[in-house]
Symmetry: C2
Subunit: 363 residues, 2 copies
Amino acid sequence: MEVGVLGAGQLGRMLALAGHPLGLRFCFLDPTPNSPASGLGEHVVAPWDDSAALARLARADVVTFEFENVPVDALHWLRDHVRVLPNPRALEVGRDRLQEKTRFRELGIPTADFRAVDDEASLLAAVAELGTPCLLKTRRFGYDGKGQALIREPAEASAAYAALAGQPLILEAFVRFQRELSILCVRGQSGETRFYPLIENQHREGILRLSRAPALQVSPEQRASAERHAERLLADLDYVGVLALELFDVGGTLFANELAPRVHNSGHFSIEGARTSQFENHLRAVCGLPLGDTSLLGPSAMLNLIGHVPPKAPLLEVPDLHLHDYGKAPRAQRKVGHLTLRARDDAELETRLAHVQALLASG
Amino acid sequence: MEVGVLGAGQLGRMLALAGHPLGLRFCFLDPTPNSPASGLGEHVVAPWDDSAALARLARADVVTFEFENVPVDALHWLRDHVRVLPNPRALEVGRDRLQEKTRFRELGIPTADFRAVDDEASLLAAVAELGTPCLLKTRRFGYDGKGQALIREPAEASAAYAALAGQPLILEAFVRFQRELSILCVRGQSGETRFYPLIENQHREGILRLSRAPALQVSPEQRASAERHAERLLADLDYVGVLALELFDVGGTLFANELAPRVHNSGHFSIEGARTSQFENHLRAVCGLPLGDTSLLGPSAMLNLIGHVPPKAPLLEVPDLHLHDYGKAPRAQRKVGHLTLRARDDAELETRLAHVQALLASG
């Protein structure tokens, strides 16, 4: 069975590493040569909308994606020629903050208040309605903290508008959250759904640095609420595959921040930390195979390697540490790999984490 | 860092799947196109002694092997041009039963009594000395029960000789063992050595079917004895990488049967069953990285898939089962994949194993 993948980045690489043991073959479409997944399947190097490249991808048994900003026409063409999973509508919703937040609201999932911004006048009106501080964001192409401006007081609105104008925008109320969580879930072709435990995420400079699974101090009600929110989205989108829902914990209530219709950085711990990794479960789902057990083998943490991969030997001395080097050239602020740590209990995880963080700080 | 590998079979495939996350690249030399490892690195399709192919391999940072019957001249040429690990001498010893058994004896490692057989007269003399039953074997190219003949009584000697004559032979006393075990170990460039727990192996028609790790009812003395035997071999061969030593349990005493100077089928359970797989540990050793923890995550079993891969869906319903499909065409008696099972305790492992064996019998 061959899986076509839109995108050949590290997510595609890890899909392929999980999929070869299942007997799957891979064909990636990505305009960037020498991408992280290049050596793990056929890599068609072409623009996203290249018709010959899309025709090649359509010869796969199923097509999925690891990159969200594929042109909509290319997706529609593919959908007419091959099974595309998850549903491309999830991608269209997930990559447009206005559609996404509207969907959250329509499904009864708590989210920050928001307004569409079409011009400076509508921004000023929206700032007056939502109050400050608030966040002006591009509706699309925002990731790792890019494409957004904080408006601390109404007088800053015009400057924020000037910085981002020219693209469709959204204004969001500022949510004073205590922590960031995410929930990863997988839905099979029969509608069966499984959830990984809630994950706690720490960002710095807008980039995910550390994820812990399971998140500590999560009440059964919070877990149930996160699963209910995710399940509504999955059903609404007629979803097949892994979906990540990012959440803010606001005094115990979970607010949906954004969804990712794909495997997700905060779920990388699952490669060694869970009984079935998010990558294997995504492939099982899109290939119509039974879903795998999402429970943990032990408390786990994931640390992103940003900019460059530090010296490997000291890291590999740490028990139950697993290195994932994406084979990318070093560049400031770039995710070039990650580490997974697993432990018998929370105390052991804390000790190991402190040790590894010290190694990273010195490397 | 690039690792050159002689052979592109399933062992090479699993080395590559373990090595990509470490940031390693692979170049395989193997005369068979479309081999299991072909899609996971550069595959140079050429005869083993092709000079251009060997020159390509010598551009790697280190060369290792997953196939033992590489011509000796090719190995010697490589050794003069690139670091080859483990020591090619281990390969020369491991692939010749006479050298291998002589080495065991010289190192004080118990092994079946044996005699070199150079012609029919020396066979008849050897049969008289060792008694019957005994086993006539080719010194080289024997695997999965091929290249051997059982001599139940002296009158059968000539027929056995006729079946195998034309190749260098060895006669071995028949060892009435209670069970077959193996020990896998890894030795780093500093000489540091780590051992996986003893494994119990079940063969049928000369092919490994089932391995359990750890082997049950192993006394501390037996474990110490197996480790001592393996350690002597590793030191004697100035070995770097993973080595497997196959053992017979004869009333509690361990007899060495044969060594494999490479990752080994009985160690495949380690991909999900151990904290560091044999494949990762082999690569860590040959690349000069620290060795990983060889302890188990839980009692584990490995079942070979022989001939064809059965329907996947029923297998993937089993919790903690992992499928490894080598991507090979089906063929009678061919190893085309394996399953790993892991459990919390021995009883759970037995239950799951019985269930999976029933599935395999029906599939």
